[in-house]
Every structure is written in structure tokens, then in C-alpha cells.
């Protein structure tokens, strides 16, 4: 296993009444694999991925869990060890790429700066590397783009710059958090194709965080579904799309296909997770929730439903049968 995350929990806000951003999440990624992490916004997927790098957003803290990378435990690294690790072993591509770039520095310099933070290189060598990376991620006339400022770039272009930064030290794992949100459809496909191509070229694994199941279907080997701060379903892609086994997955699918079928939708928006509901965290919003199955009282474990396909739903059998077969070929 390249990356192995166990029981990772993250809280936000005050210590007395924390918001449970991520609750005991476990997942793994092996070498060369492309893994999709899907979920609606607010499900905790971005927090979990950021925590792999030992980071949280403002007001957040990692309260529990273990993150192992090539067998080495990461949580507990010192500041300097983290600094050396981030960027060189795991590269990150975030959503809103233009906000992620320093607005007052040239993008080429920003690539070179990251490279020089991890590798001994002269300024000239770092510049060469930056130009090479710009070419690698599919940017025409890299010389000119090298000197551009972030606000002069289109969203797709800025996204490629982030990919170049993330790949600058040929990391073993690339985490791409909603890499195509805010881009139009053609650019989306180009960026994703480039992403897949370059990770293959440098031999990295790729964790693709998204809310778009279409992307998962087209690019990923395996998929984890997150909801309410938990992993609620994990599966290989074929088995997942053949018979998804969790209401959250169904909801994502039906949203994807603009289905008007209310019976498959979750009600309302994600709740604050300051007070966690008893039973299944999702039951207040779930169309399948049912007293008799214990949805309101018993927190479901990850049920193994065969061949590595797992679902955190008491009613996974009903759910698996609920999806009309015409959806099942996304």
C-alpha cells in the first residue's frame, strides 16, 4: 500500500462543542492506482485529503487516526519533516486554482520556488525545470506563460499550473481536489486527460476528489463515497456502477442524471455535525431510513457485500435493488 489512512477524525470550531468534520475515516491507495473520492460538498472529502498532508483549514484539528505513507506514520512528524514531505512525496492540486496561487508572483517563479524548496538546484536549473513542467502539463509557449501572473490566466490554465507545481518533484501520489470545478466541459476533459497522462508518465498514483460520478466512471479504478464525514461506500468502479449500495451514492447518481425521482434524493443540505444524530448520521435526510432496520438507533458498520464492495447502510440490499436498471450504465 502506498497510502493507508485509518480512523482519521477531524474537528472544527470550539473544543467544547466541535463540528465533526471527518469521523473515523479509513481508506487506502496502492501504487499506480487512480482512486475516486466522491461526495456532495460538505461531506468532508476535502478535509480528509488535506489531512493526509497534515493540514486543516482554519479552526480545524486532526484529533485521531493514523496516516501511513509507504509504511511510515505521518501524523506526529515535526514541522520540518512535514515540510520536507509535502510537495515532494505527495503533490496537491486544489479547486479554485487562481486563489491557490500567490497573486503577486509570476507563476513560473512559483513552480521553481517549490522545486527549490525540495531539491538542490540553482535558479537557472529550477527555471529549466519549471519550463519543462509547463510543457509536460500541456501548456503552449511555456516561455511566455512562465512570466504570467495568476490573474492573467484562464481557469484551465491556472489549473495546469497547479498540476505542474504538484508534479515538480515527481511525487508518488497526487491528490487532485475537484480539479475541474469551475471549468467548462471541454476544458474539463482536457485537464483530466492531461492529469491522467502525466501521472502515468511519472508513475504516480492519483486520488481524485470530486462530486461528479461521470469523472469517476471515466478515470478511476476504485471509488470511495463520503457522506456526513464518513466513508459510506467503497468499491471497484465496475461493481459500484453496476449496483451502488448506499443512498448517498444513489443521490449523487440521480443528481448526475438530472433525475426528478424524489425517491432517490437526499432531503435538504448537509447538516452541521455539532450534534451527531443517533443511528445512521444520514437518517434525517435519507429516503430509505426506516425504524425497523435500526436506521434511527444503530450506527451502521461498513457491511461487506462481496468482492471488496462495502456499504455503510443497514438497508443496502433494498438500496441495491432500488436503482432502475436504466441508470445503471453511467
Amino acid at each position: 500500500m502506498l497510502l493507508e489512512v485509518k480512523d482519521l477524525s477531524i474537528e472544527y470550531g470550539s473544543v467544547g462543542a466541535p463540528n465533526h468534520g471527518v469521523c473515523a475515516v479509513s481508506f487506502s491507495i496502492s501504487e499506480g492506482e487512480i482512486v475516486g473520492i466522491v461526495g456532495e460538498s460538505g461531506s468532508g472529502k476535502s478535509s480528509a485529503m488535506l489531512a493526509v498532508l497534515g493540514l486543516t483549514r482554519e479552526g480545524g484539528r486532526i484529533v485521531n487516526g493514523s496516516v501511513r505513507f509507504e509504511g511510515q506514520e505521518l501524523l506526529g512528524l515535526t514541522r520540518e519533516e512535514w515540510r520536507a514531505f509535502r510537495g515532494s512525496s505527495i503533490g496537491l492540486v486544489t479547486q479554485s486554482p487562481r486563489a491557490a496561487l500567490n497573486p503577486v508572483r509570476r507563476v513560473g517563479e512559483q513552480i521553481a520556488e517549490v522545486y527549490r524548496s525540495h531539491r538542490k538546484a540553482t535558479k537557472a536549473q529550477a527555471r529549466e525545470r519549471a519550463l519543462e513542467l509547463l510543457r509536460l502539463v500541456g501548456i503552449n509557449d511555456p516561455e511566455r506563460r512562465h512570466d504570467a501572473y495568476p490573474h492573467e490566466l484562464s481557469g484551465g490554465m491556472a489549473q495546469r499550473i497547479l498540476i505542474a507545481i504538484a508534479l515538480s518533484c515527481t511525487p508518488k501520489l497526487l491528490i487532485a481536489d475537484e480539479p475541474t470545478s469551475g471549468l467548462d466541459a471541454t476544458v474539463q476533459a482536457q485537464v483530466l486527460d492531461d492529469l491522467r497522462r502525466v501521472t502515468r508518465e511519472v508513475g504516480s498514483s492519483l486520488a481524485l476528489v470530486t462530486h461528479d460520478l461521470g469523472i469517476v466512471a471515466n478515470y478511476c479504478d476504485r471509488v470511495y463515497v463520503m457522506e456526513s464525514g464518513e466513508i459510506v461506500e467503497e468499491s471497484d468502479v465496475e461493481s459500484f456502477f453496476a449496483r451502488p449500495a448506499h443512498p448517498a451514492s444513489l443521490a449523487l447518481l440521480s443528481k448526475q442524471q438530472d433525475s426528478q425521482d424524489e425517491a432517490l434524493r437526499l432531503r435538504g443540505a448537509p447538516l452541521d455535525r455539532i450534534v451527531l444524530p443517533s443511528g445512521c448520521f444520514l437518517h434525517p435526510r435519507c429516503p430509505f431510513a426506516d425504524q425497523a432496520s435500526g436506521c434511527m438507533t444503530e450506527h451502521p458498520p461498513l457491511y461487506d457485500i462481496g468482492a471488496g464492495h462495502r456499504s455503510r447502510c443497514h438497508r443496502h440490499q433494498t438500496v441495491r435493488d432500488a436503482l432502475p436498471s436504466r441508470y445503471a450504465s453511467a
Partner: protein
């Protein structure tokens, strides 16, 4: 960059003309009557008419204003009604002192406020942060002229380590021959170290006083700005890419500094006028004191001159700061 400068200059000139016109007209429509003051209340009508003619007040307001503005564009600010000397020369003599005072105060204030603001932002919510914030709130809301007196009491009367508030040099000491009109610079150029130290000692208290008051808003602004940068998406991302400590700190400072500079420029203009108080306390013969003294004796050309001069200088400062800002932040450069 060039277009930015040109554009700004296009704004500066009308603003300057407007300010000159406003102060010119204001002085003449206010109920104070210069002829009364100069000819005396019991002057004969003939004498009054003669004075009026000498001062040019017999002409229409428009004509007066026109010739005044025309004069300014040739660098002629008229002659003082009190001393009959050219106003420009009188200002050139006094302005350098004010400028030295304010500039020194700015450097001292920034030298304290930037590290303090950074330290405060770096430990957000800690005791250090609370203390720094309380201090900046306090210092920003203080009457400088009173603090000047307090410092005088402490450092002159009690401790006796700094000189009496009687000008910029100990009475009897010869000022260096003028080259730049900036006494500190002139003393250095002439190699008169004694004069330099003496002037510095006389400027110490007024500078400290002004700097103290300035540290308030400067600290607040630095803290706010550094905090907003450190919580920005791009700093989080920089952290996620393992950017070196040195590079992170450099970004924090560079990105956080631009708003502080803008604020500094505004305060610089503000302080030019406000220096009158501190100059009065320490009997420093600067432009502020000059304006007050001349207004009290209705020397209109002198007063007008000061207002126009100070405005021009403030606008120049804004321009310089704008350019600095543009150099620090490319977004400004292109959005213009």
C-alpha cells in the same frame, strides 16, 4: 506603468487647482478683514484704499484668483503681507524641518509597528496579541500634543537627558551652511557631527511623540493585513507544497505590506497639517507653525501657499505609494 503615472498626474493637477481655488476664495469670503488688520481699525478711508490696492484686493475676486493661479504655475506663491518676502522662499526655509520630523517619525513608527503587528498576527488570540491590540487601540486614540508635553516633563525636566523645547538647535549654535536645507543632512555633509547630534537630540522627543501616535493605526493595519494573507488560500496551498520557511515568510511580508503602505501615505498627508501642534509644543520653526502664526496675523498669501504646498506634497506621496503598490502587486498594474 507609464500610463498609470500619466493618469495619476492628470488627476493631480485639477485637484491642486481646485484646492488652491477653494482656499483662496474661502479666505476672502470669511468675515476676517485683512485691511482692518493691516491698516488699523481707525485708518482713514484713503489709507484703507491704498492698502487695499497694495494687497490687490481692489480687483475682482476672479481676477485675483486668476493671477494667483497663474503665479503658482510659475512657482510664484506671492509675497507675504507680513514680511514682504516671497512666500516660496519662506516655505522652502521651513518645510525641510517639517519633512524631516515626519519622515523620521514614520520610519520609527514603521520600525516598531511592522514587527509588532507581525508578532501579534503570528500569535492570534494569545496574550501577546491582545496586548498588542489594546496598545494599538490606545496609541491610535491619543492627543499627540499632550504626549509631547508629557515626554518633555519626563525627559527634559525629570531626567534631564534631552534638551529644552526651543527649536532644533541649542541657542547660540551655528546652523550648517545650507545645501539641502535639511539640517541633519547638511550637518553630515559638512562634517559637523556636533550639530548633527544636537539637532537629533532636539528632534528626538517630537519624533517619538509622533511615532507613538502613528504606531496605533500602523500596528493594527499590519496585523490585519498579515492575518488576512496568512489565512489566504494561497498560503495554505504554499504550505501544502512544502514551500520553504524562508519563502513563506517572504510572501507573508511582501503580500501583507502593500495595504500598510497605502495607509502610511494617507497618514503622511494627514500629518503634514497636523504637525502644527507638535511644532508648537517644541517651538520647531516648521511649515505647520508657520501656517498658524501667519493665519493669526491674516497673512493670506502665506496661508494659501502652505495649503497648496502641503496638498501638492500629499498628492505626490499618494502617487509614490501608488507606484510602490503597483510594483508590489501586479493586479493593480493591469487593472488600471
Amino acid at each position: 506603468m507609464k500610463t498609470l503615472i500619466l493618469k495619476r498626474l492628470c488627476f493631480v493637477l485639477p485637484q491642486l487647482v481646485l484646492v488652491a481655488a477653494v482656499v483662496f476664495v474661502l479666505l476672502r469670503i470669511l468675515p476676517v478683514d485683512p485691511v482692518d488688520r493691516i491698516a488699523g481699525q481707525f485708518a482713514t478711508p484713503e489709507l484703507r484704499a491704498q492698502v487695499e490696492e497694495e494687497l490687490g484686493l481692489d480687483r475682482s475676486l476672479g481676477t485675483q484668483l486668476g493671477s494667483y493661479l497663474a503665479g503658482i504655475f510659475q512657482g510664484d506663491f506671492g509675497t507675504s503681507w507680513l514680511t514682504s518676502d516671497p512666500v516660496r522662499e519662506e516655505m522652502v526655509e521651513r518645510f525641510p524641518l517639517t519633512l524631516q520630523l515626519i519622515t523620521l517619525a514614520f520610519f520609527v513608527a514603521l520600525a516598531i509597528a511592522i514587527p509588532l503587528g507581525r508578532a501579534s498576527a503570528a500569535r492570534e488570540g494569545s496574550r501577546v496579541d491582545k496586548a498588542a491590540q489594546s496598545y494599538s487601540l490606545f496609541a491610535g486614540a491619543q492627543p499627540d500634543f499632550w504626549w509631547g508635553l508629557m515626554f518633555l516633563f519626563l525627559f527634559f525636566f525629570k531626567a534631564g537627558i534631552l534638551p529644552a523645547p526651543l527649536g532644533v538647535l541649542t541657542p547660540g549654535r551655528q546652523a550648517p551652511d545650507e545645501i539641502t536645507h535639511f539640517i541633519l543632512l547638511d550637518a553630515l555633509i559638512r562634517g559637523q557631527l556636533g550639530v548633527f547630534v544636537d539637532a537629533l537630540r532636539h528632534l528626538a522627543l517630537p519624533v517619538i511623540t509622533l511615532a507613538f501616535v502613528l504606531t496605533g493605526p500602523f500596528t493594527k493595519m499590519t496585523r490585519q493585513s498579515v492575518l488576512s494573507v496568512s489565512k489566504s488560500e494561497y498560503m495554505l496551498y504554499a504550505d501544502a507544497t512544502g514551500l520553504s520557511e524562508r519563502a513563506m515568510k517572504r510572501s507573508l511580508l511582501r503580500n501583507g505590506l502593500a495595504p500598510v503602505l497605502t495607509l502610511a501615505a494617507i497618514f503622511f498627508g494627514f500629518l503634514l497639517g497636523g504637525a502644527a501642534l507638535i511644532e508648537t509644543v517644541f517651538t520647531l520653526n516648521g511649515l505647520g507653525l508657520y501656517a498658524v502664526q501667519r493665519m493669526l496675523v491674516v497673512d493670506f498669501p502665506a496661508v494659501q501657499g502652505v495649503v497648496v504646498w502641503m496638498t501638492a506634497f500629499a498628492l505626490l506621496m499618494y502617487l509614490i505609494m501608488d507606484l510602490l503598490y503597483a510594483a508590489l502587486d501586479p493586479r493593480v498594474r493591469y487593472s488600471e
